[in-house]
Each structure stands twice: as structure tokens, then as C-alpha cells.
């Protein structure tokens, strides 16, 4: 079973149309991966579905980097 980061990376590659090597733990969704507000909203939906977690709006706003997302998922799934 691939770990959280790998699953998340595949999902980000699919949703944002970026290359896998661009998706590093430090990468910021907006400035590094080019996500706009619609992408973020879509990505949150996709994460919830993939990992079976709930990400409330105020929590979603705190997630800036890929590692932030990994941490949130691992702590809440």
C-alpha cells in the first residue's frame, strides 16, 4: 500500500496537471503548484473522498504545503 504522500502526490498530479517531481513535501499549493481557489476547493473534495477524512473550511485554509496536507490526513483518518 503506497503511503499518504504517494497517494496524495498522484491525486495532485491528476487534479492540477503538474509533474510528479514538482510535488515535493515543501511545495506550496498556490505559489508552487499553480492552484487557484477553484482548484483548492476541488482538491479538498478529492482528498475527502480518497482518504475518507472531513476537512472543514477553517482547517482547509491552514493547509499551505503538501506536507501540511499529509500531516492533516494522517492525524485525522
Amino acid at each position: 500500500m503506497p503511503d499518504t504522500f504517494e497517494r496524495l502526490r498522484d491525486l495532485i498530479v491528476d487534479q492540477l496537471g503538474v509533474k510528479a517531481e514538482e510535488v515535493t513535501p515543501e511545495a506550496k499549493f498556490t505559489s508552487d503548484l499553480g492552484a487557484d481557489s477553484l482548484d483548492i476547493a476541488e482538491l479538498v473534495m478529492a482528498l475527502e473522498e480518497e482518504f475518507g477524512v472531513e476537512i472543514p473550511e477553517e482547517e482547509a485554509q491552514k493547509i499551505e504545503t503538501v506536507q501540511d496536507a499529509v500531516n492533516y490526513i494522517d492525524a485525522n483518518k
Binding site: 491528476d14 492540477l16 496537471g17 477553484l38 482548484d39 476541488e42 473534495m45 475527502e48
Partner: protein, 409 residues
């Protein structure tokens, strides 16, 4: 008065995903109709449709771009890319404030509406994608085209059901003629062959149910016609002010010189039994073009293959033209099906190809003459003929009528 010419075009159609292959299919009298594949049509009254084949959006857009476009926008973008390339316009030398877009659609993003609605019923509002609204709105085709090329001129979308594309081209022609832009990207796009879109037309009894002979289902003006064939696709034309096109040595494909538009003001779906609106529409287009009716060589008819349309369009043509000087008439819907809000654009492209190649496109599947449809419909095979003046008709639910006039240049 500023003159307006066509300097490029592109299409996505059920008989070819570019202009060259579409025209080749027309010359070969091919039909794009087959058993519907997008979903199982068995429970519906009609089982046939004219679908676009082998369209891979990733050939034209990156993954993220493609994800943000409903199928109807993807078609419009692909046709625009082809049209822009053909026009040879070098955008780095143009004033982008003077280039605009008018691309219409009859129905818009029905794909994403249905998909999202199903997700909502299944799992509630959290499943409503944030892309729903930007993907479903009809004007997003015009918006996305402008974004791709940085076109900051007049930009809007016309919605008049099956007349949307013809109105879009006509209105774009007027935008240039009155001086608000020098170049306009204009046309129509449609991708509404979904269970609800298809089922809606089925319930009206509007679609052909010749399910055992799909390629024969679209048979405009034939006595045994039994409804239209739902199609999908897009057509985009580059309209350009004449002097502007000369200055950059563009290849001029034809002149667009007349535009008429009227309304039946009669019934939500049925045409006026006297064909007053359609007659007046063609008459107005010729007045606008300052062309006498005796000069019209060919009419690319709306010709849907429904009982009423074909009968009443024939009547309208007979109202306006004398028997001795009646132009040739044919319906490209016999090949490509009814592209609804894209129909008039694909058919405008066919009109211009007819002028350029001196070939009148046929009405295929014409087997049994109908006493109420007694014109020369160029049955089954293309015909060689020099064409100077060509008209194209589109009529939409709501009683919307639109006619364009093209001239050899």
C-alpha cells in the same frame, strides 16, 4: 461601409474532426449517424445519434485545462485553434483590443449539470464541484477562447436554440461592420447528447426512430423523414474587416455580406404554418446584402428532417423565389445530423467550401419525393457548379430565424 470577409475556419463534426475530413465526407456522401454510444439508448424511443468520434481533448489541452472545460467548450476551443491557424493571424502584430469573440450554444454544459446533480442526490451538497457553474454557463466558450489568445474586444454568447451559431456569426459580422472590432472569432458549439438532452428531444417526438438504419435516419425533404438526428460538434469562423485582411495579405475565403433575423412569434416549438418569419428572414438578409433574389445560387437549408421544418422551409423558399429562378437547396444535416447550437456554424463553413470548390453539397438519403417539398435538393451526390451567392438558414425553438449571405470574392 466596412466590408467583412472570412479568413479562417475550423470544425468538430460527426463526419470529421477538422475541415478537411468533414469536406471529404460530404464529397463522399457519408452519414455521421450511428447507434448512440455515450450511454445505453435502449430505453429511449430513438437509438441513433450523430456523435463526434475519437475526440481526445488531451491532444489539444493540458490535463488541467481539459478538466475545466465541459465537452461543448472543448469542441469550441479545438475548432478555434484550427480556425486561427488557418487564418494566419499573427497576434503579436495585432491590437488585441480590436479582436473579439461571439460563440453561442443552444444548451450549454448539460454534461456537467447531470453529472453533478447525480453526485448531489447521492451524497449531498458537499459533492457539488466548484467547477459546476464555470463549466455549465454557455458564455464560457467565448470566455475561454478570449483567455487562450488574449482577445480583449467585444465578447458575448448568443442563445437562440438551433439558430445560435448563425446569429453569432451574423452579430459578429455587424460588430465589425459598425467598427467595434477588426476581427471576430464567431460560431457555435454543442455537446448535449446526454440522457436528459437526448431524452428531452425523444419525449417531444422530435428525433428519428429509424433505429434499424441509423445512417439513413437523417433524410431532409424525403417523404419518409421521421425526425431529426441529434448531433454534436462545433464550427468557428474568423471574420475580418476587408482592408485589414488585405493589409496582412490574408487568404480571403469568401465575403459575408448579408444577415437577416426575425421571429415567428407563433409557438414554442412549431414553425409558423405560413412560414412568414422564415420568408421575411431570408428577404431581410438579401436586403442587407443589397443582392437581388435572382442572384442567389444556393441555399444551405436548415433542413432538419422533421416533417414540419422541411415542409415550411420549402414554402418559405417558394414564397421568396420564383419557380424559374429558384436556387438549389440542400441540407448538410443529412450528413452531420443536427448540431443544434453549432449547426449554423458548421453549415456556414460548408457554404464557403462550396463557393471555393465550386461544388454544391448534396442532401443524402433522398429517396422518395414529397409533393410538399418539390425543389431541387441536390439529391444524394454533390454537384459541380460555380456559386457566386450562397445563403444559409437556421431556425430555433422559440421561433428564432436567422439567415446569412456569403459571396464569392
Amino acid at each position: 461601409m466596412r466590408r467583412v470577409v472570412i479568413t479562417g475556419f475550423g470544425v468538430v463534426t460527426p463526419i470529421g474532426n477538422d475541415v478537411k475530413s468533414m469536406w471529404q465526407s460530404i464529397l463522399e456522401s457519408r452519414s455521421g449517424t450511428a447507434r448512440l454510444t455515450a450511454f445505453d439508448p435502449t430505453p429511449f424511443s430513438s437509438h441513433v445519434a450523430a456523435e463526434v468520434k475519437n475526440f481526445d481533448p488531451l491532444q489539444f489541452f493540458d490535463k488541467k485545462e481539459a478538466r475545466r472545460m465541459d465537452r461543448f467548450v472543448q469542441f469550441a476551443m479545438k475548432a478555434t485553434i484550427e480556425a486561427m491557424e488557418m487564418s494566419g493571424i499573427d497576434l503579436s502584430k495585432e491590437n488585441l483590443d480590436r479582436i473579439g469573440v461571439i460563440v453561442g450554444s443552444g444548451i450549454g454544459g448539460l454534461n456537467i449539470i447531470e453529472k453533478t446533480h447525480s453526485a448531489y442526490l447521492e451524497a449531498g451538497p458537499k459533492k457539488i464541484t466548484p467547477l459546476l457553474i464555470p463549466m455549465l454557463i454557455i458564455n464560457m466558450a467565448s470566455g475561454m477562447i478570449a483567455m487562450r489568445y488574449g482577445l480583449r474586444g467585444p465578447n458575448e454568447s448568443i442563445v437562440t436554440a438551433c439558430a445560435s451559431a448563425t446569429h453569432s456569426i451574423g452579430d459578429a459580422f455587424k460588430v465589425i461592420q459598425r467598427g467595434d472590432a477588426d476581427i471576430m472569432v464567431a460560431g457555435g458549439t454543442e455537446a448535449a447528447t446526454t440522457p436528459l438532452g437526448f431524452g428531452g428531444f425523444c419525449s417531444m417526438g422530435a428525433l428519428s426512430t429509424r433505429n434499424d438504419q441509423p445512417e439513413k435516419a437523417s433524410r431532409p425533404f424525403d417523404k419518409n423523414r421521421d425526425g431529426f438526428v441529434m448531433g454534436e460538434g462545433a464550427g468557428i469562423l474568423i471574420l475580418e474587416e476587408y482592408e485589414h485582411s488585405k493589409k496582412r495579405n490574408a487568404e480571403i475565403l469568401a465575403e459575408i455580406c448579408g444577415y437577416g433575423l426575425t421571429c415567428d412569434a407563433y409557438h414554442i416549438t412549431a414553425p409558423d404554418p405560413n412560414a412568414y418569419g422564415a420568408t421575411k428572414c431570408m428577404e431581410n438578409a438579401l436586403l442587407d446584402a443589397r443582392i437581388d433574389r435572382t442572384e442567389v445560387d444556393y441555399i444551405n437549408a436548415h433542413g432538419t428532417s422533421t416533417d414540419l421544418n422541411d415542409k415550411l422551409e420549402t414554402l418559405a423558399i417558394k414564397n421568396l423565389f420564383t419557380k424559374e429562378k429558384s436556387p438549389l437547396v440542400s441540407s448538410t444535416k443529412s450528413n452531420i445530423g443536427h448540431l443544434l447550437g453549432a449547426a449554423g456554424a458548421a453549415e456556414a463553413v460548408v457554404c464557403i467550401l462550396a463557393i471555393k470548390n465550386k461544388i454544391v453539397p448534396p442532401t443524402i438519403n433522398y429517396e422518395t419525393p414529397d409533393p410538399e417539398c418539390d425543389l431541387d435538393y441536390v439529391p444524394n451526390l454533390p454537384r459541380e457548379k460555380e456559386l457566386k451567392v450562397v445563403m444559409s438558414n437556421s431556425f430555433g425553438f422559440g421561433g428564432h430565424n436567422a439567415t446569412l449571405v456569403f459571396r464569392k470574392i
